[in-house]
Structures are given as C-alpha cells and as structure tokens.
C-alpha cells in the first residue's frame, strides 16, 4: 500500500462516516425508516465485528492459520465474559500470545 492510497482511503472513509452521521441527524431529521430496515442496520456491528474477530484470529491473508493468536483471543473472550475492564482484556490477550510465542521461540 502506497502512502497516497492510504491517505485517499482515510479521506474517503472520513467523508463517508460524516455523511452517514449527518444524513441521519440533519438530513432526515426526525423521520423514521421502515422497522425492517432499522432492524437490519442495527445488526451491522454484530455481523461485521464477529467476522473481524475471526479474521484477526485465524487468518493470514487468504489462508487459515491456527497459531498462538487463538490463545490470546480465548483469554480476551473469557475476560470480556467476566466483565473485566477494557485495558485488562487487551493486555491479558496480548500477554498470553506474547508469552506463548516467547515460549515456543525460546
């Protein structure tokens, strides 16, 4: 990825994000969408975030790769389920993966 391409992505994403916020808040102000549409839109984070978890846990590029990331993410899931603070979840996950990596390399 060249620098210029990344800058274009940032500009496009910023414009799009603002567009969504402003159309909802200012443009359509006060109107309601059909309930079916609102229900589907509300499910976007559930579907995409789950896919992103899987992506960053078991894939590298287009391949499925099972490695020490799985242990880290398992710890993150456990810590989230136990309602531990955000920082604890992230640090515990990173520490788990790093420790296993270090153990395997050492």
């Amino acid at each position: 990825m060249t620098d210029a391409r990344l800058w274009w992505m940032i500009a496009a994403l910023s414009a799009t994000a603002f567009g969504f916020k402003a159309i909802g808040f200012v443009g359509l102000g006060g109107r309601r969408l059909p309930p079916v549409v609102e229900r589907c839109l509300a499910l976007i984070p559930a579907a995409l975030l789950a896919a992103l978890v899987v992506k960053d846990t078991v894939t590298i590029g287009q391949g499925i790769v099972l490695d020490e990331r799985i242990a880290g993410v398992a710890v993150a899931i456990l810590a989230t389920w136990r309602k531990l603070p955000f920082l604890v979840v992230i640090v515990a996950a990173m520490a788990t993966t790093a420790a296993i990596r270090y153990g395997l390399a050492g």
Partner: protein, 227 residues
C-alpha cells in the same frame, strides 16, 4: 453544580477516560498495521468512529487493498446513520442552526448516543451529549497520538500486538450479543467470512459478512407471539 448534572458529567467522564485508553490501543495497532503517526491521528480526528477505524487498519495490516479496507469500514460506519436518526428525535438544541447541527453530527457515535439516550429530560440529554462528544473527542485523539508514538518503538510480534485488534473487536462485539438476533447475525457473519476467505481478495469477505444483517428481516418471536 446541581447533583443531577454532576451525576451526568461524572458518568460521561468515566466513559471518556476509558475511551482514551481505547484510543491508545488504536494508535499502537494502527501504526503496527502500517500507517504513520499523522495518518493514524487523521483517522481519529476526521473519521472519528472507532470500530470503522479499527476495521480499516485491520484489513490494511493484513495486506488488503485501500478499497477493501474502505468497504468494510464504511459499512460499519452506516450504523452512525441509525444513531443520527435516533438522536434527531431525542436531542433538541435551544437554537438548532444548521452549522451547529452539522458540528454535532460529527460527534454522533456509539458512546454519545448511548449516554444521551439514557437520560430522560431534554436538558440532561444535551449535557450528556456534549459532555461525551467533546470529552471523548479530546480523550480519543490524545490517546491515539500517544499510542501511535508508542507503537513506533515496539515490535508488534514480540508484544503480541497483533492480538490487540481481535481483542478490541471481542470487547465491542459483546454489547451486540445481548439479543438472539444479534447472536445469530454474529455467527452468520463469522461463517460467511470463513467460507469466503480463500476465494475472495483480502478484505472483501468482511464486506460480504454484512449480508448476515438480512436476518433482521425475519419477523421476531415476540411479534409472532403478539399476533
């Protein structure tokens, strides 16, 4: 300060500080994924919607194209449209000029929507909104800058930084698994992604996983029971 206002401000400030720490993790992860400090800060300042920022940099870190990174992140940003609609029904400014409303729009994100909509009267809602909007914007951007500078000096693999992305997504996902529909959408999204990974270019399966939201068209159990 009167007690009610103090309660609202205290609640929003607690969230703002937590999000600042979140911002540090974004800064670190974004730099590890290949953006420089300025680009990372630009994302937090101008895009200003965490899940999309993380998603875009996660795809770029994996070697996806700029358009694939944009696609998934843009779909995630679409939920801000729903928040905007909801807030336009709830948030009433005293003098609602267009520039003021456009400025407010930039700050319509998960946290400001959640905290403002939790209040029952107009004035407290406005206080909750602006206190989250401005406080969180400052914390998120400072956190990002700090993280981006930190990220440049540590080796991502050694410190398990590659797991920061999925760990963040796990935390964000948890809030959306409270309903049966959310759970089904999550499982479907993950499955669609897994099936398509070997077939489609990097980042595109994330886009495709969004089709899982169509299960929202299914009539829900409560409604069936009512009719």
């Amino acid at each position: 300060m009167e007690p009610e206002v103090r309660r609202v401000v205290a609640a929003t400030m607690a969230v703002n500080v937590a999000v600042g720490i979140f911002g540090i993790s974004f800064g670190v992860a974004s730099v590890a994924a290949g953006a420089d400090v300025l680009q990372t800060c630009a994302l937090s300042f101008f895009t200003f919607t965490g899940a999309s920022q993380f998603s875009a940099m996660s795809v770029i870190g994996a070697g996806g194209t700029a358009s694939a990174a944009f696609g998934g992140a843009a779909i995630l940003a679409a939920r801000n449209f729903v928040y905007g609609l909801a807030m336009s029904r709830m948030l009433h400014f005293k003098r609602p000029t267009v520039p003021k409303r456009l400025l407010a729009a930039h700050f319509i994100i998960d946290e400001s929507t959640a905290l403002a909509s939790a209040e029952s009267d107009d004035r407290l809602r406005r206080i909750a909104f602006w206190s989250t909007a401005l406080g969180l914007f400052v914390c998120w951007n400072l956190g990002t800058l700090l993280g981006a500078m930190l990220g440049g000096v540590i080796d991502p693999q050694t410190w398990g930084l590659d797991v920061a992305f999925p760990a963040v997504f796990v935390v964000m996902l948890a809030a959306h698994l409270r309903t049966r529909r959310g759970q089904v959408a999550a499982v479907l999204g993950a499955l669609i992604f897994l099936v398509l990974v070997p077939i489609l270019p990097i980042g595109v399966p994330i886009l495709a996983s969004a089709t899982a939201v169509l299960i929202g068209a299914w009539p829900d159990a409560e409604r069936r029971a009512a009719t």
